[in-house]
């Protein structure tokens, strides 16, 4: 890829990087909170992907204005609305995950996955 191509796809490159970082956090890290951070990074990358898809160079806000007659002159509002929903979902997921981490820490006194699996085995 030449340099111009790189800058034309800059947002997609960043999105992909964030997706990979998030995936690494979720799978590679042993601490549960770090896994959760990985999940958040992964989800944020998806938000970025959607929002960038809505961009309309030179477009205006999606409120009817007589000066802008063609639909192509407005930013696409649908991805924004979808991502608003996805953000709500992501916040709820983070909330549940944090509540679970508190419950886990109270019961086992650690958030390290390796240690947890060992202590779980001892319990069963």
């Amino acid at each position: 890829m030449n340099l111009a191509g790189f800058f034309a796809n800059f947002t997609y490159v960043v999105t992909t990087l964030l997706l990979v970082i998030g995936l690494y956090g979720m799978i590679g890290k042993r601490n549960l909170i770090k896994k959760l951070i990985g999940l958040s990074v992964f989800q944020t990358a998806i938000f970025l992907f959607y929002i960038y898809g809505a961009v309309q160079p030179g477009g205006t806000v999606p409120v009817w204005d007589a000066r802008f007659a063609a639909a192509a002159q407005y930013i696409n509002p649908l991805p924004h609305v979808l991502i608003l929903t996805a953000i709500v979902v992501s916040v709820a997921t983070t909330g549940v995950a944090l509540a679970l981490s508190v419950a886990i820490y109270r019961r086992y006194g650690t958030l390290d996955e390796t240690a947890l699996l060992e202590r779980m085995k001892r319990d069963s």
Binding site: F42, G53, V89, T93, V96, L100, S101, A103, I104, S124
Partner: protein, 491 residues
């Protein structure tokens, strides 16, 4: 325009909000509201199925916005069939939920009911929606409820729930990313509209990426081997009432989404010719069938054995889809219904056993067949059905899968199905022999009584249901599933 499609998730959502309010007055009232909501949903689903068979698909435009702009709920033969399976099994699970939750998780009795209703609302919404993004929202409602429900179980449950959450959310995120690719490629989210716009751009790399992302997402959610890692712990440590609710239907709905997307939104040939997703699913499923059965044999805990058996059984559904022929799909759909009943029945029995004895070890089954005769009669029926002995329902779904495998001429699939039946026999006969042949332990015979009526009734109903499904299978197949399956492949 009929309102039936939206009336399936609506009473569940409404009841989910009413249950905590009712619980402030009286705990019994909360359970009654939950049952009423779930019964209403099941009634509308059955009514809808009758109407769909008589008159054809029902469409409902949410907020009166016509599709593709608005969100559309569709009850066609496939979604009506799934809605009946989900809501009827869900209703029986809620009947069982009350006595089991009162015993095992008394402080979470009211909230447990509310979240269980949210779970059912999410699953039934996934089934009836005709919009790809709306499906994601319902998927997350169902998933978040499932994480919360699993977490209220044993000491290890929050850890199991956390791992389930990480992998489940990864699945949900993959799905929404895939839908994003589809949206930017087609400009639409309505399934029927997307299907139309996709056909000319099948070669596009964005479309292929979307297909892969959605397939991986749903394989994670349905616990298709080797993405099943979250399942055994989640099912083992969840409260008995929750395992009886989640295990029968949760993974099936993810499998339904795969069927919807790869046979409905995409033409079946896409996932074979442009990227071999269906063949990949079928091979992974064949491996999963054997893996799950072998792992089930190795378990000492009845619930963990049933969990690994679920890994194996959901793979049957994947295999039926992956074969990409109508017979395989008939087998897959019939197995969705059969296995929902069988696994619910088996988890109910495990819960009843725990209720009376406090143990769920397979070695403690010895002599229980005489102490809890009705409960274990139901267990026996479900176990024989799992092995595949007619007239129990399990035989017939395996039969259609076998016919499908013979039609594609794949000896490996035939071998996997037959071998897994033998393995099923190995792990269930071990339990059955203990139940009836071995004398009970040192425990005083009179101390263990039959399960309470509230738990016994749904268990027995499911056992009868397994036999009824078996006896009516030719009717279900010729009247409902065969037209669905051949319709999906003749586009």
């Amino acid at each position: 325009m009929t309102h039936i499609p939206v009336l399936i998730p609506a009473p569940l959502l409404l009841a989910a909000f009413l249950v905590p309010l009712a619980g402030m007055l009286h705990k019994g009232l909360a359970a009654a509201v939950a049952l009423a909501g779930s019964a209403a949903a099941a009634a509308f689903a059955v009514l809808g199925l009758g109407k769909v068979i008589a008159e054809g698909p029902l469409h409902y435009e949410l907020g009166n916005w016509p599709p593709p702009v608005g969100i559309e709920y569709i009850l066609d033969p496939l979604s009506a069939f799934m809605a009946v399976v989900v809501t009827v099994t869900g209703f029986l699970s809620l009947v069982y939920f009350r006595p089991s939750a009162r015993h095992e998780i008394p402080d979470r009795f009211v909230t447990g009911h509310a979240v269980a209703l949210l779970l059912l609302a999410g699953l039934s919404g996934m089934v009836v929606t005709g919009d790809l993004f709306n499906l994601f929202v319902f998927l997350e409602i169902a998933s978040l409820s499932a994480y919360a429900l699993v977490a209220i179980g044993d000491k290890q449950a929050p850890v199991a729930a956390f791992r389930y959450l990480i992998l489940g959310s990864l699945g949900g995120s993959f799905y929404v990313l895939g839908v994003g690719f589809l949206y930017f490629a087609t400009g639409s989210l309505n399934m029927a509209d997307v299907a139309e716009r996709l056909a000319p751009i099948y070669h596009s790399r964005a479309v292929i990426a979307a297909a892969v992302l959605i397939a991986v997402a749903m394989a994670l959610k349905m616990a298709l081997f080797p993405l099943h890692l979250w399942l055994p712990d989640a099912y083992t440590y969840a409260p008995s009432a929750v395992a009886g609710l989640i295990a029968p239907i949760m993974t099936k709905v993810a499998a339904y989404v795969l069927i919807r997307v790869f046979l409905g939104v995409f033409q079946p040939s896409f996932a074979i010719d442009h990227i071999p997703l269906l063949p990949a699913i079928s091979w992974l499923a064949a491996a999963g069938i054997i893996f799950g059965s072998v792992m089930a044999i190795a378990q000492q805990d009845l619930r963990r054995m049933l969990a690994y058996s679920s890994v194996s059984q959901i793979a049957y559904v994947g295999l039926g889809l992956g074969m990409a022929n109508p017979l395989g799909l008939v087998g897959a759909l019939l197995h969705v219904a059969n296995h929902a009943f069988m696994k619910a029945c088996l988890f109910f029995v495990a819960g009843s056993l725990r209720y009376r004895t406090g143990s769920v070890r397979i070695s403690d089954l010895a002599g229980m067949g005489r102490k809890m005769p009705w409960t274990f009669a139901a267990f026996t029926v479900a176990a024989l059905s799992m092995i595949g002995i007619p007239p129990a329902a399990g035989f017939f779904s395996k039969w259609y899968l076998l016919l499908g495998a013979l039609e594609v001429g794949n000896g490996w699939f035939v071998a996997a199905i037959l071998l897994s039946s033998l393995l099923n026999a190995a792990y269930f006969f071990r339990g059955l022999e203990d139940l009836y042949a071995k004398p009970g332990g040192k425990e005083d015979e009179s101390r263990v009584a039959e399960a309470p009526v509230g738990m016994l009734m749904p268990t027995l109903l499911l056992a009868v249901g397994i036999l009824v499904l078996g006896l009516l299978n030719s009717l279900i197949v010729t009247e409902m599933l065969m037209p669905v399956a051949s319709g999906m492949y003749q586009r």
